[in-house]
């Protein structure tokens, strides 16, 4: 069965690209051994569909791909990248996946996808954002003027902009009682939004709005955004500092787990916030956000410190190590190994902080007896009470040696 037969032709606009506000042309790209990829595959997550003439995964750095996944994670969105030869899928929680390629029989599906979206030439680039109701919220068809040619790097940058726009607003329906007229967050089959009095944006609305705004800014307003950013709640205080001007973000650079990064941060963001929300390094945990539990312990310039009380701007120029930076491929760090062997955990929530703190403790070189280890680990709480085995693990690692280096 060919791809065209999976989807009625009548819905597609022959020749041209879908305009903003129209229903997204359905597509079905067959995948070997699995259900075809359609918009429904992504379960209501917003989809950025990018046709990029320059996309070549073998020449795109790990760094850039990692950045894309981190931004998508923050947004809760999916990125489909179609090149001349293939279709790739970036999902926030998964590895980058080659969905279909010409070489493996994906030809008809890929061609149908291009035809439906009006991106006929393999050398053309185009961008679309499709929301959970399968409406095209943003369309940047090939040859749009004035325009900035979409490239993968520029797209990742724009995703970053969207992420920042998202952080600058808190979605009213996150964790708050349902407002009358609001759509429940996370519903995938919801009635169309009603704009007007009493309309409260859901988190998905805000995400899509941020994406649309960011892509419009990044690639010129050749597209036709069908949905603007939701207006702030009436009566809500304006964001930002004393003169209602949002203070500028601060550029910082750090060396994290042996890789250099530069980023622009809100001065309020803690190292913990940035690690988890911007860099998708969720190994470091937030237990209390007030420096009382130690779950957020990381190494900064070789010293164990609390990332929840360290503003990201304070770590500019520093060398950081998190739990993700310990193992070498499949080879666990000696402290990690000791925690496994000695069963130094139960639920595991405090464990990354325990391990980082324990490495810091060994670097300090002052603990030898069990009471000394207990005293010098007293900044790391464990609600499960795994303390005896934690002490045993640290002592085992200390005696075996090699655990004091991150």
């Amino acid at each position: 069965m060919c791809a065209d037969e999976l989807v009625p032709e009548a819905v597609a606009a022959p020749g041209g690209s879908p305009a903003g506000g129209s229903h997204a042309p359905p597509f079905a790209v067959p995948v070997a051994g699995r259900e075809p990829i359609t918009l429904e595959t992504f379960g209501g997550q917003p989809v950025v569909l990018a046709f990029l003439a320059d996309w070549n995964p073998s020449r795109t750095t790990d760094e850039l791909c990692g950045a894309a996944r981190a931004e998508l994670r923050g947004l809760g969105a999916v990125l489909l990248v179609a090149s001349e030869e293939s279709l790739w899928c970036f999902r926030p929680d998964d590895e980058l996946e080659l969905v279909a390629s010409m070489a493996t029989g994906g030809g008809p599906g890929l061609l149908a996808l291009r035809r439906r979206y009006g991106v006929h030439a393999a050398t053309s680039s185009a961008l679309f954002v499709i929301d959970e109701a399968e409406i095209v919220c943003f369309a940047h068809p090939p040859g749009t003027e004035p325009a900035r040619e979409p490239t993968f790097a520029a797209l990742v940058q724009a995703l970053g902009l969207a992420g920042q726009a998202l952080c600058a607003r808190s979605a009213p329906s996150d964790g708050q009682p349902e407002q009358p007229g609001a759509r429940p967050v996370g519903s995938s089959s919801a009635p169309p939004r009603r704009q007007g009095a009493g309309w409260q944006p859901s988190r998905r609305d805000v995400v899509v709005g941020s994406l649309v705004a960011a892509l419009s800014v990044a690639f010129g307003l050749g597209g036709s955004p069908a949905r603007a950013l939701p207006a702030p709640e009436a009566g809500a205080p304006p964001p930002g500092g004393p003169a209602s001007n949002e203070p500028p973000e601060v550029p910082i650079a750090w060396r994290l787990n042996d890789r250099d990064h530069t980023l622009s941060v809100d001065p309020r963001a803690s190292v913990l916030d940035v690690l988890r929300e911007r860099m998708a390094l969720t190994g470091t945990k937030n237990g209390c956000d007030h420096g009382q539990c130690g779950a957020c312990t990381v190494l900064i310039d070789g010293q164990r410190v609390l990332s929840c009380l360290t503003l990201a701007v304070m770590a500019d120029g520093a060398k950081l190590t998190t739990i993700e930076g310990l193992a070498r491929g499949d080879r666990l760090h000696p402290m990690q190994e000791a925690f496994v062997v000695e069963d130094g955990l139960q639920c595991g929530y405090c464990t990354p902080g325990q391990i980082m703190s324990a490495i810091g403790l060994l670097r300090e070189g002052r603990a030898r007896t069990d009471p000394e280890v207990r005293e010098q680990m007293s900044g790391n709480l464990c609600r499960c009470g795994a303390y005896p085995n934690i002490v045993a693990a640290i002592q085992a690692a200390r005696r075996r040696g090699g655990a004091a280096q991150p």
Binding site: P237, P239, G240, G241, P242, E246, P247, V250, D266, P267, R268, A269, S270, D273, D289, H290, G291, G294, T297, Q303, R304, V305, L306, L309, T310, L311, V313, M314, D316, S357, G360, L361, E364, R366, R374, E375, Q376, M377, S378, G379, N380
Partner: protein, 328 residues
């Protein structure tokens, strides 16, 4: 994240830092362990943070007259410095009894001097607090007072100063050095912090934009004969219910010199001239120590839930003195 945003500046010299901090609503940022915590609670809402990272204030210098400690020296570095362990053991012990290893790696001398109270009514913006909002009332006075002050309080505020380091420093007669818009000055530690009185919102004598640059500690034989005893609910990682920094020098079975300070019981680090007077010249014996303890707490004003602190503080002092006697 705190709701209120702020401007962040990172000056590269003291002069720049002072200029930045002269703006209204500015705060110096060092380790951040007090400031970031309070900003997240919205108790502290500065419009501008002046990060002191690039200022050369992180040296410890050991000279013939004593120790000079830069304001950005971390608690950990200070506690473990060999000169401190030898020359001012009470200071090292006090620092190591406070907070956690991670916090000690971050917190600085200047920040520790200026840390704010742990009073839960102060830390909760929904509770009345004269320190946060003059005239709003004091939630503690009629509230839960187990951790509050029995010395130095007023009808406006009974919040305890939580620092261990300050108790040792006031007993050891440290001097704080500052630089401000009006120039440089030196402030004996006992005069740095103020009593709440009618104005609990004022906690120290520093002016706006006045920067603590360093601390000096005089060297003496008495200082080497010092100790810190801390009593708390847990074996580690908890604030003091009562604590004592004591230095004791004896000769021929009599007390020749003494320095006594209390923590956990007062609204500022509490140097006890009463205890010292009751000790000097007296036989170095248990009965003397007990009388000194009674004298030290004679003016104590217990509240509903902290009356136990009076006797506990007395016993803590006796324990500290007995420990020192055994050592010498």
């Amino acid at each position: 994240m705190p709701v209120r945003s702020f401007h962040y500046v990172r000056p590269s010299s003291e002069t720049e830092a002072l200029a930045a901090a002269a703006e209204p609503d500015s705060a110096f940022l060092a380790g951040g362990t007090t400031l970031v915590d309070l900003m997240r609670l919205e108790v502290a809402t500065p419009a501008r943070l002046v990060d002191l990272r690039h200022l050369p204030l992180d040296r410890i210098e050991d000279g013939p007259a004593g120790l000079r400690v830069g304001a950005r020296v971390t608690n950990a570095a200070l506690a473990h410095h060999p000169a401190v362990v030898r020359g001012w053991p009470a200071l090292s012990q006090a620092l190591l009894s406070g907070a956690s290893p991670q916090l000690r790696n971050m917190a600085t001398l200047g920040g520790n001097l200026l840390q704010r109270t742990r009073c839960p009514y102060f830390r909760d913006v929904g509770s009345p607090c004269n320190k946060r909002q003059p005239g709003a009332g004091c939630g503690a006075l009629d509230g839960y007072t187990r951790m509050h002050a029995i010395l130095g309080g007023s009808e406006r505020c009974i919040a305890v100063h939580p620092s261990d380091m300050c108790v040792a420093l006031v007993a050891l007669e440290a001097v704080v050095h500052t630089r401000g818009p009006d120039g440089e000055r030196s402030i004996p530690l006992g005069e740095l912090h103020t009593l709440p009185g009618e104005h609990p919102e004022i906690e120290n004598v520093l002016g706006r934009g006045e920067l603590i640059t360093h601390l000096t500690l005089p060297k003496s034989a008495l200082a080497t004969l010092s100790t810190y005893v801390k009593v708390r609910d847990r074996a580690s990682y908890a604030f003091a219910i009562t604590s004592v920094a004591a230095a004791l020098q004896t000769a021929g079975g009599r007390v020749q010199a003494a320095r006594i300070a209390f923590g956990g019981v007062a609204t500022k680090p509490w140097r006890s001239a009463e205890a010292e007077r009751a000790l000097i010249g007296q036989p170095a014996a248990l009965e003397t120590y007990r009388q000194a303890a009674v004298a030290a707490l004679a003016e104590a004003r217990p509240r509903r839930d902290n009356a136990f602190k009076v006797e506990l503080a007395q016993r803590t002092l006796v324990r500290a003195l007995v420990t020192l006697e055994a050592r010498s």
